[in-house]
């Protein structure tokens, strides 16, 4: 299994699938014509899968990937691709940490938007319901989970700040 050098240094262990075009911006890769459209679709699918892994523990639901692509086609057709998101996906950086660090600075709106879009698409699926709602009273578990979440968020913030600086993402 391959690991991205810079990410490993940050403790991020997302597997690299080996992107031969790493470092080339998505917009410049898309170009024009039908083949560019196919390429854009593939890139959006890869982006959806990568960002989904940052948000949810379970494997991505194919319907979510398809809808993520459709939403981009329908709502953001005229928008250029986000260099920030492209860089995060290409370098396999910790999207959750970076989003949090940027959100705290009122920056990185396009990354937040894409993660939020995935969140909406997941919330409509039954398989994700337990990620959003708690159907049984579990006070002790809730307190522990919230304490862990607060600590984890501190760590994610530090990591996000580091990644933002190291990779010039601001």
């Amino acid at each position: 299994m391959l690991f991205c050098g810079p990410c490993r240094a940050c403790g991020h262990t997302e597997p690299r699938t080996g992107n031969p075009r790493r470092g080339v911006s998505v917009s410049s890769r898309w170009g024009w014509g039908p083949s560019a459209s196919v390429k854009m679709t593939d890139d959006l699918a890869a982006e959806a899968r990568y960002l989904h892994a940052a948000l949810f523990p379970q494997p991505v639901d194919p319907a979510i990937v398809e809808r993520y692509r459709d939403a981009h086609r329908l709502l953001f057709a005229g928008e250029p691709s986000s260099p920030l998101v492209s860089r995060i996906v290409e370098r396999r950086l910790d999207a959750e940490a970076i989003e949090y660090a940027l959100r705290r600075r009122n920056a990185g709106r396009e990354l937040t938007r894409k993660l939020q879009m995935l969140s909406y698409l997941a919330e409509a699926r039954a398989a994700y319901q337990d990620e959003f709602v708690n159907r049984k009273t579990r006070r002790a578990r809730a307190i522990l989970a919230l304490a862990a979440a607060a600590l984890r968020s501190r760590w994610k913030l530090l990591k996000g700040e580091l990644l933002v600086r190291r990779h010039g993402l601001l």
């Binding site: 948000l55 969140s119 039954a126 579990r138 913030l157």
Partner: protein, 525 residues
């Protein structure tokens, strides 16, 4: 050309009740009248549906990704962006454009208007609220009774808000309280002295929501679907009354007509409307005109009819503040699946200068979690943990403040046809500190830093552009809504309110429109 007794423009709360008041006359209702086209997919409780169906993409997100609206467009109310509710603001930006810096408002061209998505809170303007109006509470009282009889209102008499709401003998029992609000009310009762000393009162909401069957409508079902399903039979919307008026032949209803202007003749009024199907302009004629297209669109019609692109008319809307309240003892409790996102309690607070603020308390079961996930203070995954365990312990106090005309706020019609809207921002009110302190005392935590202030216009309580006055001058109206300088043009909606107390004005607008409709009918006799 066929001549009606009266033309009513619009089908929202005001236009509908003006038409009711014109009963017995030959009435033409001109309306764009978009209606809900889909909603069959939603029967049952939101959270049961989410478990029972693998996929609720169409009703919750929408085939055109309607629920993602706020990710790529200026934000609108969460209710207005859900797929089956989005008809309420359909084409409004294109057909009736409104522009303004940091303006959070929208208008509606739907049958029933924005009241298709209202919170159903009903408040009678009292004598105190009507200070500055050329009418008295006694003028409105019979109309209040008739409107509430038609709608069906639930609530209680005799609690601490009765002086504010006034007694209503026709009330149905109140809606069932969620556990968090039941606790809140009990704790308030135990600490009432502190609240009373601070001139703050809490009580049950009065809602145009049925808890018992009425007029063929079934009671409210606590299904958490207010954000997603239009035309809940338990929640009143003027669209129901419009349908009754059409069915009974009380009005001739022409939909897909966008009224653009009127012109007065010696023997009547001619109204021009764009037929949205044919693209042709149509002219209709009547002896009187009642404009109730919603304050902003009514203003647009009046200014366009006068060819006036210079005058800036006053504009009012209730400033808002949203205060989250956390009951730590409820962290980790189970989601209430049979619940409501309607206001469950109301709060009235008076500051040292005697100014009232009114608040409605809401739970968190209505909207999608993703709507607010990225507003929470942690990282994305951890915010989901927060939403899962803390949302059932969270209530939101939506505070509304009164608004009087000010020189920095107003509306003007640009030559392009856009309405240029300005609403001066509202500074924070000291009463917010008082409320945070009092709620902390009964175990609900909050902090000033957590208060959210929606952009001006977000309350969607637009009013006061053509205010009623005892001695109306140009672009003002008399006590019967008659526009100064005209003999037959009546303004029946919020545009004719003289000021805007901290109460939702919808019930008062309905009652006033009914009153004006009756007066117009009498003059036509």
């Amino acid at each position: 050309m066929d001549c009606f007794d009266a033309i009513v423009v619009g089908s929202g709360p005001a236009a509908t009740f003006a038409a009711v008041g014109l009963h017995g006359r030959r009435v033409l209702m001109l309306d764009v009248g978009f209606d809900a086209s889909r909603s069959d997919g939603l029967r049952g409780n939101l959270y049961d549906l989410k478990q029972a169906h693998d996929d609720l993409f169409e009703p919750l997100i929408g085939n055109q990704f309607e629920s993602l609206h706020n990710l790529h467009q200026p934000p609108i109310s969460l209710k207005l962006k859900s797929p089956y509710m989005s008809y309420i603001v359909r084409d409004a930006r294109r057909l009736t454009p409104v522009a303004g810096d940091a303006f959070g408002g929208v208008v509606s061209l739907a049958r029933g208007g924005l009241a298709n998505a209202w919170g159903a809170g009903v408040f009678r303007y009292t004598e105190r609220d009507l200070a500055g109006f050329p009418i008295m509470a006694a003028d409105l009282a019979p109309c209040f009774d008739e409107v509430t009889t038609r709608m069906g209102v639930s609530g209680v008499n005799g609690d601490d808000l009765e002086p504010y709401f006034e007694r209503d003998e026709q009330l149905q029992p109140p809606i069932r309280l969620s556990p968090i609000f039941g606790d809140m009310l009990q704790r308030y009762e135990r600490s009432k002295n502190a609240f009373t000393k601070a001139r703050v009162a809490i009580g049950r909401s009065r809602l145009a929501v049925l808890t018992e069957p009425r007029h063929g409508r079934t009671p409210y079902e606590y299904d958490n679907l207010e954000f997603f399903r239009p035309h809940d039979p338990g929640i009143y919307t003027p669209a129901y009354t419009v349908s009754e008026l059409i069915a009974s032949g009380a009005v001739e209803y022409r939909s897909r007509r966008l009224v653009t202007r009127y012109s007065e003749r010696s023997d009547g009024v001619e109204v021009e409307a764009l037929n949205l199907d044919s693209g042709e302009m149509e002219t209709s004629r009547a002896r009187a005109l009642c404009i109730g297209a919603g304050a902003l669109n009514t203003t647009r019609i009046v200014l366009a009819s006068n060819g006036d692109h210079d005058t800036r008319l006053p504009l009012l809307d209730n400033p808002m503040a949203c205060i989250p309240l956390l009951d730590v003892t409820r962290i980790g409790t189970a989601l209430q699946t049979r619940d409501t996102s309607l206001a469950q309690l109301n709060i009235v607070a008076e500051d040292e200068d005697g100014r009232l603020a009114q608040g409605s308390l809401y739970g968190t079961t209505g909207p999608l979690r993703s709507d607010f996930l990225f507003e929470l203070p942690l990282s994305a995954r951890d915010n989901r943990v927060w939403a899962r365990y803390v949302a059932p312990a969270t209530a939101f106090l939506m505070l509304f403040y009164a608004r009087d005309p000010d020189p920095l706020s107003g509306v003007r019609l640009r030559t392009s046809g856009e309405l240029d809207v300005r609403l001066a921002p509202e500074p924070p009110h000291a009463v917010e500190n008082t409320l945070i302190r009092l709620f902390r005392r009964i175990g609900f935590l909050s902090h000033r830093a957590m208060i959210q202030r929606p952009p001006m216009g977000s309350a969607l309580h637009f009013a006061g552009t053509l205010p009623m006055s005892a001695q109306p001058s140009r672009y003002q109206t008399d006590r019967d809504g008659l526009l100064a300088g005209t003999a037959r043009v009546h303004i029946v909606d919020g545009a004719c309110l003289s000021r805007l107390p901290a109460k939702n004005a919808t019930l008062t607008i309905m009652a006033n429109a009914l009153r004006i409709g009756r007066r117009v009918a009498a003059t036509l006799a």
